[in-house]
Symmetry: C2
Subunit: 248 residues, 2 copies
């Protein structure tokens, strides 16, 4: 059944990071009759574009469309195809032998990551084979099946690295935000503190922030400036990287 | 024959950039009986790791081993599988019908790029299906078959973007080099000029350069400092991105 619908040898794994109130989480699935957790993923329909299929996985699980979803690495070592857990599921009657045959093939998995505001996500959706689909805090992760722990680590490492070459924050912060709120987002992802003055200087040099001309009031005697993203500049920077002027 | 040796649905395309005397070129193949040029590529052996296969393509064509070769994007749109040129090759008798059947399937192609010093490469190697394998200047490229023009553009865009998050230059510059020589490399890849003082300041802040304590002599009354790469720092930055201190 699978082989008539999907390209063989290829799978998709999605690392969906969730951000809310300065906490970073990741969306994980637990399969029925299985001890370990997995990343949500899928296969590529014979008539479907690859990136479109990844968006479908994301939208199916979270209900969120038009989210920045990014290819970050392809996992293609022979050794990643360990079939122990398939045998286990088969023995437990959790999957049928035809499905087992499909899952036992060697997959080259294309890794995607997304970063969403998880309070906007309705209850993540289950499919017939999973018994849980939950946001788990990055600092208290359960053991993951297959090489999914490695995939998750690589996604986080990529996310941290890409902070230096492209903007982040749209859809994660309110429409108008303070420099301190933006800094908290960076600090949460990087898991370290950043010097306040350097951060401000750097952010302004990137030219993706617009000054709303407003200030947040009601915070005592200091009323911090409210910024917003310049959508066009943000989009360009996402595609081409920051203006080199921010660098050299 | 192919289907007994390789994973189906998956191909590899390599964009091999060559740098020498401030010129950027790319390695292209011309197939027999075909009008257009292509990127060198291949398939993934049933028992071979994906990244290993990409290195094999690079080494086969250039004779160079241990070169930094990087996955940069997966090309997986349905529309990229155009079979016109296969029909053409079949009609010309350049490939046999069995091979044509393999090449006509839909491939998801994993793009890799490498950057090498092309004067170190011996005559690039031909295989039975190609009539030429040549370094072509980036500013005078011939028309490319399939979506290879798009793959090449995306690789160049990625290379330019990644200059801002990771080091470059090892194996491209002599063991000891001046700041001006390093700047020329960046300018060649970015295809623009960079302010000399900003460049110097930024490069030093990245902490991948070591001062050799020597100067290049014989260049008139100024003797520029000779730098070298700190191998350990370079390797770390390649994996993790620049020290954040270079950024914030």
């Amino acid at each position: 059944m699978y082989s008539q619908k999907f390209l063989s040898s290829i799978s998709i794994d999605c690392v969906i990071f969730g951000f809310h109130s300065n906490e970073l989480k990741v969306l994980l699935l637990k399969m029925k009759e299985s001890d370990g957790w997995m990343l949500p993923g899928g296969f590529v329909g014979l008539d479907q574009d690859l990136n479109k299929e990844a968006s479908t996985v994301l939208e199916y699980r979270t209900g969120l469309a038009d989210i920045f979803l990014r290819q970050f690495y392809v996992f293609g070592n022979v050794a990643r195809a360990k079939t122990d857990h398939i045998d286990h599921l088969l023995a437990k009657g959790a999957i049928d032998p035809k499905a087992a045959k499909w899952f036992e093939q060697r997959f080259v998995s294309i890794g995607y990551y997304a970063l969403v505001e998880y309070s906007k996500v309705k209850e993540p959706r289950l499919d017939y084979i999973s018994e849980a689909c939950t946001w788990m805090p990055m600092n208290e992760l359960p053991p993951l099946l297959l090489d999914h722990g490695e995939i998750l680590d690589k996604a986080h490492e990529t996310l941290k690295k890409e902070l230096y070459s492209q903007p982040i924050g749209l859809n994660l912060l309110p429409e108008e935000f303070t420099m301190t709120e933006l800094q908290s987002l960076y600090e949460t992802i990087l898991q370290r503190t950043i010097d306040r003055r350097n951060f401000r200087r750097k952010m302004l040099s990137m030219k993706v922030l617009g000054d709303t001309g407003k200030r947040r009031t009601g915070l005592g005697h200091r009323s911090p400036i409210l910024y917003t993203f310049d959508r066009a500049a943000y989009q360009t920077a996402l595609e081409k990287g920051f203006q080199a002027s921010a660098f050299f």
